[in-house]
């Protein structure tokens, strides 16, 4: 019977091809959406995997997480260095890594931090060593690839975090690349990492020549009070300085790991309530962000389903008209011994086969497109979106398409099955 169904489908090549195309487009769209949503969600959650909590200046928690974990948004402001010290000594905290943002090179953020940050993103050095001396820098794999910078390369950072920021360059303090990281598919690929002190040096900020973890007691409490209401707005921490503002050593954010799960309950609320700092959970904020996208994805999904319904309608119309011309054929099959059920099955199979071929093509096309996009479009590849692998939902799409094909075929199949043979056979 499959042979007969194939023959029927091939007999009307153009109609079949158009029906397949229509349904394939909708399935491809659904698959693309699904893959896109799922992969970006995965990339997002992966990016925040190693980080339990982010501490920064008060403002939007989402902005804080986006700016300091994903390095997408502008920071919420700066915080005093003393905050780092106090958190380090907090028994609930396992590790605290500072971030000092403000400059960029060729669109890549220069981040003053400690080399422990590599571990947070499970990044390893591909070549060279980590930064130690002032103005030494380690670059992420995407930075190396896109700028072509190698070990020993010198570069000058410029103010502001956007690529075309009009900040002036720090000509007198060029960085030197001493290490390159392996690709991770995480935000660290796009970062230029150096010590916090180097960032201060570039901005001419006086600080103790030690490391950020040295004791800084003394002036810090005053600094904290000052910065609590300093309005840095959405500007990069070191992007804008009021001319008379004292240049004190500050950082932009702190990435925390808890010592125990209990910390998740107590630490964020304590910080948010009792200090001028803000604590935000990357896991919470990124799931909030994903929720934000959900309606759009659902709307697009709805559109794709509507398109699939149109495809089903086209299959129905094609089968319906085919049945009129095929009545005689099918009646003859009955004469030759086919049961009514077999006739019904033949027509049903035709609908299901059309839909299945379309769905398979659509899914294939979607993965092909994802692959093509990741190869040719930079932003897609950078976002960590690739051809992806087959998701269980795609099997569901396949099954759904088969059901749709069956649905489209059921009325023509039923009608033909119920046909009275005698009058049809009597026709000449």
């Amino acid at each position: 019977m499959i042979g007969l169904v194939k023959a029927y489908l091939l007999e009307r090549k153009l109609t079949t091809a158009l029906n397949v195309l229509l349904l394939a487009i909708s399935v491809a769209m659904l698959t693309l959406l699904l893959q896109f949503a799922r992969q970006s969600e995965e990339r997002f959650l992966e990016g925040a995997e190693g980080i339990d909590l982010v501490i920064g200046a008060k403002g939007s928690p989402l902005q804080l997480v986006l700016s300091s974990v994903y390095h997408l948004d502008q920071p919420t402001g700066n915080i005093p260095l003393s905050a780092l010290e106090r958190l380090r000594h907090n028994p609930l905290v396992a590790s605290a890594i500072p971030l000092a943002l403000g400059d960029q090179f060729a669109g890549f953020r220069i981040v003053g931090t400690k080399s422990e940050l590599f571990d947070l993103y499970s990044a390893k050095l591909q070549s060279g060593k980590t930064f130690e001396a002032p103005l030494e820098a380690v670059i992420g794999s995407a930075v190396a690839e896109e700028t072509g910078a190698g070990l020993g390369q010198r570069f000058i950072g410029s103010h502001g975090l956007a690529e075309n920021a009009e900040g002036q360059g720090h000509e007198h303090t060029p960085f030197i690349v001493v290490g390159i990281l392996e690709p991770t598919g995480k935000p660290i690929d796009r970062l230029i990492l150096t010590s916090v002190e180097s960032v201060w040096d570039v901005h001419g900020i006086q600080h103790d020549h030690g490391t950020a973890e040295d004791d800084h007691d003394g002036h810090e409490d005053a600094a904290e009070a000052h910065h609590a209401d300093a309005d840095h707005g959405s500007h990069g921490a070191y992007g804008v300085h009021g001319p008379r503002e004292p240049m004190v050593p500050e950082i932009t954010a702190i990435l925390l790991n808890y010592r125990s799960p209990a910390a998740a309950v107590r630490l964020p609320s304590t910080i948010n309530r009792n200090t001028a700092l803000q604590a935000a959970s990357p896991a919470q904020e990124s799931s909030r962000l994903i929720l934000l996208f959900e309606p759009a994805i659902e709307a697009l999904g709805g559109f794709a389903v509507l398109l699939a319904a149109t495809g089903a309608l086209a299959i129905f119309v094609a089968l319906w008209s085919a049945m009129r011309s095929r009545e005689g054929d099918l009646a003859l099959l009955r004469v030759m011994g086919a049961s009514r059920a077999a006739i019904f099955g033949t027509v049903l199979l035709e609908g299901v086969m059309t839909a299945l071929v379309a769905a398979a093509l659509g899914i294939l096309a979607a993965h092909g497109l994802l692959w093509l996009a990741s190869e040719t479009l930079h932003s897609v590849g950078e976002a960590g979106i690739g051809p992806g692998h087959l998701l269980p939902e795609e099997i569901a799409i396949l099954a759904g398409a088969a059901a749709l094909g069956a649905l489209a075929a059921v009325i023509p199949a039923w009608t033909v099955m119920r046909n009275n043979l005698a009058p049809i056979l009597g026709r000449n």
């Binding site: 023959a7 030759m336 049961s339 043979l421």
Partner: protein, 219 residues
């Protein structure tokens, strides 16, 4: 032994009776011509014999199996086992080539038929060269042979032809009549030909004249 037996069969479409208390018997090996003008009920009779229609009264048996009663599936099974029909409009499946038309028929009738059997049959019909041709590529004569081959590939006990010659000129009509008779001989098939074509009368020794359900059997 009688292969086909109709006993007191009556059939009407609504209020107009087509057959009334119709009796007819075909023995194995019979070659019978059913002659009657258009509208005399020949096709109705064939539909009854095939089990597509149930008689209002009377019985129809094929090889001792009742096809005038029972479920549709049961009647389908009797037909599948014993009968092949060739229609005036040949109804070759247009999407399939000739060979596939034959193997489909064999599969539907649940007969074991090898590609060699099919080839041999097409050879016998003189259309082996058309095995892979679609029906629309065949001439009228070739298509008729292909339809006959498809009817015979299932090795039926009873071969029924409904108006096999009405669209043909005298010479072709004669050729077809001969072919049917020859094939029924070589394949050992009982033959029933229904037609309004008087030209065929001379070819058959057994003729049933049908005039609005009234029968006059000449042997």
């Amino acid at each position: 032994m009688s292969l086909l037996e109709l006993h007191q069969v009556s059939y009407r479409y609504g209020r107009s009776p087509v057959l009334r208390d119709f009796d007819m018997t075909l023995d194995v090996g019979d070659r019978c011509l059913m002659l009657g003008p258009s509208g005399s009920g020949k096709s109705t009779l064939i539909n009854l014999v095939c089990g597509f229609l149930k008689p209002d009264s009377g019985t129809i048996d094929i090889a001792g199996q009742r096809i005038s009663e029972g479920s549709e599936a049961a009647r389908d099974a009797v037909r599948r086992r014993h009968i092949s029909v060739v229609f005036q409009s040949l109804r070759l499946v247009s999407a399939l080539d000739i060979k596939a038309n034959l193997s489909l028929a064999a599969r539907l009738a649940r007969r074991e038929v090898t590609p060699r059997d099919i080839h041999a049959l097409l050879e016998e019909m003189g259309i082996a060269g058309k095995a892979h041709a679609k029906p629309y590529m065949l001439s009228q004569g070739e298509a008729q042979r292909a339809a006959l081959a498809r009817a015979l590939v299932v090795k039926p006990d009873l071969l029924i032809a409904d108006e096999p010659t009405s669209a043909l000129d005298a010479r072709n009509a004669e050729t077809v009549a001969r072919l049917l008779l020859d094939l029924s001989h070589t394949h050992g098939t009982t033959l029933l030909v229904a037609t309004h074509d008087e030209r065929l009368r001379s070819h058959f020794s057994q003729v049933i004249d049908l005039h609005a359900g009234v029968v006059e059997q000449i042997v």
